[in-house]
């Protein structure tokens, strides 16, 4: 009976996730379809102009006829003769099979290919390298410091953490990044100002030197992300942990005579894990897409900068690719978390 309930719960959640995925994609397709239409119309106009230039010397009626024919043909090729919603659905159908088409322009920083899928993979790899690494470090530091502050709540460390969290939370990441670049790259000259450069051949030779090279280049953005983020996370963990510590089962554990360290790590940590896991999961998924402004500041060619450059050039295939990937990952993560909770918490199965 329980398993039947869980099965129904999973089917329900899965259906819900698919629905959200579909509608969110449809909305973004419609949103970008307008940009796409303008872009395509400009292209048709340009190509018709070029074509007409090649027809010089023919009688004017002949030129007009041929140009008109060519224009009709182009409109058909680009699919501009179909209404917006049909094009949106066609795109959606292709995107569901991970076919994002060809980029409108080349992105030298992402390999000189026009295939949107391979551009996306290159960008994703780099963003994961920087932002996900940073996020994992942030989560580890944040949980540890948060628990410690809750354990010693009211101490100087605890107060310092609150103030630190408040200040770093109010600080835009890109601004701290600019300050770090100014200080460490231009004034002190310790770290490079451009965080991404092509790896020289002699460095590629040994894995150790490659590692050191990457670490040296990534040091500034890594430090920036970690400094800005861990205080806020630690503060949230501290608050959750403190409210958990006042619950009865923790008192029972203390009354049983357990050492307070054991109570903290065995009972409190387990009780606070669901919200902390949710937060961490979304933070890690969020880190896959980098931060647009920070990547612009650090000149790091990852997802954020790709998104920004593509938006500026109204390169709709690339923009849609990034959007699709981001919506997809969020929906899948939510679905997985729902299922995990379904296993962990028996109450959900009944109400779901």
């Amino acid at each position: 009976m329980i398993w039947l309930g869980l099965g129904r719960y999973i089917v329900f959640r899965g259906f819900n996730a698919l629905l959200v995925l579909f509608v969110a994609l449809l909305i973004s397709v419609i949103l970008f379809a307008d940009l796409e239409t303008k872009e395509l119309e400009t292209r048709v106009y340009e190509q018709v102009q070029n074509y007409a230039r090649g027809l010089r010397g023919l009688p004017p009626e002949e030129v007009n006829r041929r140009v008109e024919e060519y224009r009709q043909w182009l409109i058909k090729v680009y699919g501009l003769d179909q209404p917006l919603y049909i094009r949106a659905f066609k795109y959606l159908a292709r995107a569901l099979t991970l076919d994002f088409g060809e980029a409108r322009q080349r992105y030298p920083a992402y390999g000189a290919t026009a295939d949107v899928r391979s551009i996306l993979l290159t960008a994703l790899g780099r963003t994961v390298l920087l932002f996900t690494t940073a996020q994992i470090i942030v989560i580890v530091i944040g949980i540890f410091l948060g628990l410690y502050a809750a354990y010693r709540s009211g101490s100087i460390f605890d107060r310092f953490l609150s103030v630190f969290a408040l200040v770093t939370y109010s600080m835009p990441m890109y601004w701290l990044g600019m300050l770090m670049i100014l200080l460490f790259a231009y004034e002190l000259g310790i770290f490079p100002s451009r965080s991404w450069e092509y790896v020289p051949e002699d460095v590629k030779a040994s894995p150790f030197s490659l590692f050191v090279w990457y670490l040296w280049h990534m040091a500034l953005p890594l430090m920036t992300i970690i400094l800005v983020s861990f205080g806020g996370l630690a503060w949230i963990v501290r608050n959750i942990a403190i409210s958990t510590m006042q619950e009865d089962f923790v008192m029972v554990a203390h009354a049983k005579g357990l050492r307070s360290r054991d109570v903290l790590y065995k009972h409190v940590l387990r009780a606070i894990s669901p919200p902390v896991v949710t937060m961490s999961a979304f933070a890690i998924i969020g880190s896959f897409f980098g931060a647009i402004i920070s990547e612009v500041v650090f000149q790091w060619p990852g997802m954020g900068r790709l998104y920004y450059t593509a938006l500026q050039n109204s390169d709709t295939p690339v923009v849609m690719g990034v959007t699709y990937l981001s919506i997809m990952l969020i929906v899948v993560t939510k679905f997985l978390l729902d299922i995990i909770y379904g296993f962990l918490d028996p109450r959900i199965k009944v109400s779901g």
Binding site: V20, V23, F32, L166, Y169, M178, Y308, L311
Partner: protein, 305 residues
């Protein structure tokens, strides 16, 4: 008879909504600091432009090549000057008006939409709830900043009202979900059941029984929506996707980063520090002030006072 009634009402209003919050703020050091910071900013945005002269270019002493602006802060120009000889303090003051307007509008709209959707979904339940929560899920899934960039490039306006509305398009969803779960947990409490049993109309139950219990939550979320809107608008201006029509702290950051090359030398650091300290100060003021909100709005704490 009537006039004395009115007088009593006014007196109760003043006691409840002016004297009592003030006494809470005065007794809470953090909130007091936040309150003073906020007062300072509000004064800057409202009175400031009438007191501080309009920031004109080339008003500072002549300087050498335009990319090197080595004018240290002085009495005449408290925060120094930028790369074309404009007083930075004047820019901060004149920019504060739009920043505060955008943040305030976005905060209000986000909170109102969030409350409305969350309340309706939580209170009515059933199909309405399912539809509203599906919409909320979709809005939460669509990536925020890219959507804002697209909207900004399509709409191309700097009017505080429109920018504020734009910023709240994606921001309300999280609040709506939180309000809904709060309403769900309050819906079956004894005092709501009692009001229902007494035959009270729905508006009474919603606004007199449920709302007061949500007020502190709503007010804190209003502050966080405002903080988020400040980030959002400054970020959009920094990226340069909104047209530069008036002074704004985000535009100053953009100029420092792109035009003035403030990244390359410590001599120009005041241009980078000034707008950001304005932003951080405002955020800290808002967050510190939010510490007092629970005490002001929470009906149980009020009763005790």
């Amino acid at each position: 008879m009537k006039i004395s009634h009115l007088r009593l009402g006014v007196k109760a209003f003043i006691e409840d909504w002016i004297l009592f919050p003030l006494s809470v703020i005065v007794h809470n050091v953090k909130a007091l600091v936040g309150f003073i910071i906020l007062l300072f900013y509000i004064a800057m945005a409202t009175i400031g432009p009438h007191v501080v002269p309009y920031p004109r270019s080339f008003t500072c002493p002549p300087y050498l090549p335009p990319t090197i602006f080595r004018w240290p802060p002085s009495l005449e120009h408290p925060l120094g000057c930028d790369y074309i000889g404009t007083d930075i303090w004047a820019q901060i003051v004149w920019g504060s008006t739009t920043v505060l307007e955008i943040a305030f509008i976005a905060g209000i709209v986000t909170t109102l939409v969030g409350i409305a959707v969350g309340m309706i979904a939580g209170f009515l339940g059933g199909k309405v709830d399912a539809v509203l929560m599906a919409i909320t899920d979709v809005v939460m899934t669509i990536p925020g900043l890219p959507l804002l960039i697209v909207l900004a490039s399509v709409i191309r306006t700097s009017s505080p009202l429109v920018v504020g509305l734009m910023l709240s398009i994606t921001a309300w969803a999280g609040l709506a979900r939180a309000i809904r779960s709060q309403v769900l947990s309050l819906k079956y409490r004894e005092f709501v059941e009692a009001a229902k049993a007494l035959g009270m109309p729905t508006w009474h139950i919603v606004f007199r029984e449920i709302m007061p219990n949500l007020m502190s939550f709503v007010a804190i979320n209003f502050i966080f929506a405002t903080v988020g809107a400040i980030y959002g608008s400054v970020g959009l201006y920094f990226l340069g996707v909104l047209p530069f029509t008036a002074f704004n702290w985000g535009i100053m950051l953009n100029m420092a980063f792109r035009q003035a090359g403030a990244l390359y030398s410590l001599h120009t650091i005041h241009y980078l520090l000034a707008p950001i300290f304005a932003i951080i100060g405002l955020q800290i003021g808002l967050i510190l002030f939010s510490y007092a909100i629970d005490e002001i709005f929470n009906p149980r704490l009020r009763a005790r006072a």
